[in-house]
């Protein structure tokens, strides 16, 4: 049952990488801190290797406060892989930056927090994971130190602190009525506890997790951070914390909250709100970053479909995990293009890209059509699996709402995609101005994975089937 630290090898490696990186960075000259970046990459790679070397699933560790199951393993792969991509995307903007060490340490700590969040099966650990996944990201949001970045960081911090406190209050209440912080005990005691207290406490707890996922009604920080922070940071905060938040939500809804508490209806409404609001707000965004910001909110709506039917459909868990993987890689691919062309702010600035940068144009084509859900990309299959779960769980109307929203989303993705394939305004116009090639490499990798994960899903889809521990 207990396998101790070996079961937590990926987390341990990441934490060690961050601490050693911090120590190493303080001894390095300001302009030559590349060994820290190398160390961060190594930590992620070693962590990934440790994931694949893990003992058979599933097993709870550390007295049932942390679960190593299919959800944790998938989350680890996505988070560590995503972190690698983010490091690649940030290469241009933080290379030779005097605070490069801090950047990479904070990225690793944020990833670590996300890992804790998605594996936690104990309320105390969940709260600790929330803080660890949030605090480094506040600092990263303001990393550039300019006015918009600082404003974004402040807003992110204030909202995060507010929902963090609300979440802690919820955890305290649940501890009070459930007489434990462990999920396994709570699952037994909560059905007999006063329902109104449980409902209030659970909603308070959800507030923090919805904040991490960037769902309505806690989404206010997303547009500010996406527009204000460095593009690579924006890619990070709109992708990785969602994984932690949504898997944690899934665990709670599937195994802990008492059945018949109206949770599916609540999540169905939250999903509808996130999809609809994200899509409608994205329609009129003048900048591509604003567009991506609201697109990520709408994507959370589709992901919440799986949370809605958690426990009601056997398809929900695998669907959520696959969609998370597909979404993360596709979203990072779209942000990679933003990182590569930092001076192109509006869709209009992308005119003529297909002529001058055909590779980037293909990446954008795959990723944006992928986000719409066009086959054979991974998000299509993700959407398909989520819709299957929703219809199977008796929420066919919610799938229909998601379909209508998908059609709406086509408008704004096309608004960005069409100028890419139009001829440039003048013959001398060479299309958008790129930065160095690392972001291009990142985009290429993300787009290829997004496509291959869709076509080759048959190879690893069976790996996602398995019980998710409460």
């Amino acid at each position: 049952m207990e396998s101790g630290f070996t079961a937590l090898l990926p987390e341990t490696i990441l934490a060690t990488g961050a601490v050693l990186g911090l120590l190493l960075g303080s001894w390095l000259p300001l302009r030559h801190q590349w060994p820290v970046r190398l160390m961060a990459v190594l930590a992620c790679l070693l962590g990934l290797a440790a994931v694949f070397a893990a003992p058979p699933l599933p097993h709870p560790v550390f007295g049932g406060s942390y679960a190593v199951d299919v959800a944790t393993q998938t989350g680890r792969v996505v988070v560590l892989g995503g972190t690698l991509l983010v490091i690649l995307l940030s290469a241009e903007s933080v290379r030779s930056h005097p605070r490069e060490t801090e950047f990479h340490v904070l990225v690793q700590l944020g990833a670590l927090g996300t890992l804790v969040l998605l594996g936690a099966t104990d309320l105390s650990l969940l709260v600790a994971g929330y803080l660890l996944a949030s605090v480094p990201l506040y600092a990263l949001a303001g990393f550039r130190g300019d006015a918009v970045g600082t404003e974004a960081a402040l807003k992110y911090y204030l909202l995060g602190a507010l929902f963090g406190v609300v979440m802690i209050a919820g955890a305290t209440l649940l501890y009070g009525v459930g007489r434990s912080t462990g999920y396994a005990v709570l699952a037994r005691t909560l059905p007999t506890a006063p329902p109104s207290v449980v409902a209030i406490a659970a909603v308070a707890l959800l507030a923090g997790l919805l904040f991490k996922a960037g769902a309505v009604p806690t989404q206010f920080w997303i547009p500010d951070v996406t527009r204000g922070a460095d593009a690579a940071v924006a890619a990070l905060v709109t992708t990785l914390p969602k994984i932690g938040g949504l898997v944690a939500l899934f665990r709670l809804v599937e195994g802990v909250f008492p059945a018949g508490g109206g949770w599916p209806v609540l999540f169905a409404l939250l999903a509808t709100a996130a999809m609809t609001l994200g899509n409608l707000a994205a329609l009129n965004q003048p900048t591509v970053r604003g567009l991506l910001a609201y697109s990520t909110i709408s994507q959370v709506g589709y992901l919440l479909l799986a949370v809605t039917v958690a426990g009601e459909s056997e398809f929900a868990g695998p669907a959520l995990l696959y969609y998370l993987l597909a979404y993360a890689v596709t979203n990072l691919g779209a942000f990679a293009v933003v990182c590569r062309f930092p001076y192109a702010e509006t869709p209009r600035d992308y005119r003529g890209m297909a002529r001058w940068r055909p590779g980037a144009a293909v990446v954008l084509l795959v990723c944006l059509l992928g986000l719409v859900g066009t086959p054979p990309t991974a998000v299509f299959l993700g959407k398909l699996r989520v819709f299957v779960a929703a219809v199977d769980g008796g929420y066919g109307w919610l799938a229909a709402v998601a379909v209508v929203n998908t059609v709406i989303s086509l408008f704004y993705y096309l608004r960005w995609l069409v100028p890419v394939f139009l001829p440039a305004v003048s013959a001398r116009d060479g299309g958008p101005v790129p930065t160095g090639g690392r972001a291009a490499l990142g985009g290429g990798i993300a787009a290829s994975v997004s496509l291959l994960a869709g076509i080759g899903a048959g190879l690893f889809l069976p790996l996602l089937d398995g019980p998710v521990l409460p």
């Binding site: 299959l381 819709f387 379909v403 209508v404 394939f421 899903a457 889809l461």
Partner: protein, 502 residues
């Protein structure tokens, strides 16, 4: 073998893609013609081999995403093979027609090769998700064709086309999910689902699933009242884009009925066949009447497509009526429907190519701007005349064979509907003859609308245009006079289908 047929165009596209767009456009156009020609030959081989077998031939089944119940399952039978043949013929005609194109050739050729793979893939798919993948990708490809190479108001028209048909495709997907969940074990395989027919006659859920699939297919077909995306898309698309849109993409809707909606939900289809018949009759009459009022030649042809597709829907609906009786009439109706798909593809293809010829010379599709073209362009006028007569169903061409079978079959089970649809033929004949009269006959205007470079009058059809049109007309003539080679496989498929729906 089928996979080779399907993916050959895509492989050629992949081979052409690395070439810089600065090389001679001939490299791309000739490459396209060769790819289309080889593919057409392969389809011919498939046809000859299939004629010797029965049921589904060239079947190939590979697990693709077994965890999600998705397989790569392909094969052809009597209902799909004619459409595969039609697709390869139309793409070959488009390739020949575009051989002298000079601007933006690379992207154009690559997109059409991609579209050809999607279209052939769709007609050979025997798995719902495979079908859907091709269905969706064909929409994406056609969107870029219209938006990138269209004329006039191309951007908004292309967007309207994309949104409308994308909505349809997602409705289709919801219906597929319903079938998947109802089947035990869960599968997207069309053959297995047809054997089990899990939702057939299962009350409200079956009706909802048929409704979702039906709406998706009706939008694509398109049938009144879901047709509003089509006229602007056709008007603004490039000529060969219109050929593929009308000739192949519309057939995806009607083919979906015979491949998916009818065999997978037979009892439910019987239940709602009256609604299908009604939509078919309304489309026939509405399409014909609205086409009559059009000034724009291409728009007029687009509305006649609504009319022609209406006959197909009418026939398929009538085949679902009168369960257990009038088997022969219902087989006749289904055979007529599939023949009509092929016939409409061939003849409307030629009409759109003629519209393209008109536009290339006069810079407009407005019929009021032309008259007396028979003088300077006798070959153009002759081809137009033959196509127009063939298109409204004169005996000797494929349109007659198809419409005769449809009406004769429908008369047995949906007598009133067939009688109501009959005047549609009359109106179509009138409007097509009027168009012929206005464009080709009469006095030449003293000032032509926009003389082409180097000449002051309307030049006649060029060799490559004629080479693209004549084989299509020839095929229509062959079907009209010696139809057995086409009808035999279709009838075998139709007997099977009518057996399945009772």
């Amino acid at each position: 073998m089928l996979s080779l047929v399907v993916f050959l165009p895509l492989a050629v596209a992949a081979a052409l893609a690395p070439l810089p767009s600065t090389v001679s456009p001939r490299v791309f156009t000739v490459g396209w013609v060769c790819a289309a020609a080889v593919d057409a030959l392969l389809v011919l081989v498939v046809w000859l081999v299939h004629a010797a077998g029965t049921g589904i031939t060239f079947e190939q089944r590979v697990p693709w995403i077994p965890g999600a119940g998705v397989g790569y399952h392909v094969g052809v039978d009597g209902l799909s093979l004619p459409l595969v043949g039609l697709t390869s013929a139309l793409f070959l005609a488009c390739a020949v027609h575009s051989v002298h194109r000079t601007r933006g050739v690379k992207g154009f050729v690559l997109l059409f090769l991609f579209l050809q793979t999607c279209c052939l893939g769709l007609f050979t798919a025997l798995d719902l998700i495979l079908f859907f993948v091709y269905f969706d990708l064909s929409i994406v490809g056609m969107y870029f064709v219209i938006a990138g190479w269209g004329s006039g108001n191309a951007g908004p028209s292309a967007l309207k086309f994309f949104l409308y048909t994308f909505l349809g495709s997602l409705a289709l997907l919801l219906g597929f999910l319903g079938l998947y969940l109802a089947a035990e074990p869960h599968t997207f395989d069309i053959v297995e689902l047809a054997r089990a027919a899990p939702l057939s006659g299962q009350g409200v859920f079956g009706a909802l699933v048929l409704g979702a699939i039906g709406v998706g297919l009706l939008i694509k077909t398109p049938v009144f009242p879901f047709h509003t995306w089509m006229p602007p898309a056709h008007t603004d698309a490039p000529a060969v884009g219109s050929v593929i849109l009308a000739g192949v993409l519309l057939k995806m809707g009607t083919y979906g009925f015979v491949r998916i909606a009818m065999p997978l939900l037979p009892r439910t289809w019987n239940e709602y066949a009256w609604l299908v018949v009604l939509l078919g009759v309304v489309s026939v009459l509405y399409g014909a009447l609205v086409a009559f009022a059009q000034e724009d030649f291409k728009r007029m042809v687009a509305y006649t497509s609504v009319n022609h597709m209406g006959y197909v829907i009418l026939a398929l609906g009538s085949a679902g009526l009168a369960v257990g009786s009038a088997e022969q009439a219902r087989v006749l109706a289904v055979t007529g429907a599939v023949t009509q798909m092929v016939s409409h593809g061939l003849l409307t293809g030629v009409l759109f190519l003629l519209a393209g010829a008109l536009y290339a010379r006069g810079g407009t599709h407005a019929m009021g701007q032309y008259s007396g073209l028979a003088g300077p362009a006798p070959v153009f006028a002759g081809v137009t005349a033959v196509t127009v007569f063939a298109s409204f169903g004169i005996p000797g061409f494929s349109g007659f064979v198809a419409e005769f079978q449809i009406l004769a079959g429908a008369l047995a089970t949906a007598t009133l509907a067939a009688a109501l649809a009959l005047p549609g033929i009359l109106v179509t004949a009138a409007l097509l003859l009027r168009a012929l009269h206005r464009i080709c006959l009469g006095e030449r205007p003293s000032i032509p609308p926009r003389p082409t470079e180097g000449s002051h009058d309307f030049t006649d059809l060029r060799a490559n245009e004629l080479t693209a049109m004549l084989p299509l007309l020839g095929a229509a003539l062959l079907i009209g006079t010696l139809p057995r080679w086409l009808l035999a496989p279709i009838e075998a498929g139709a007997v099977h289908l009518v057996g399945a729906i009772g």
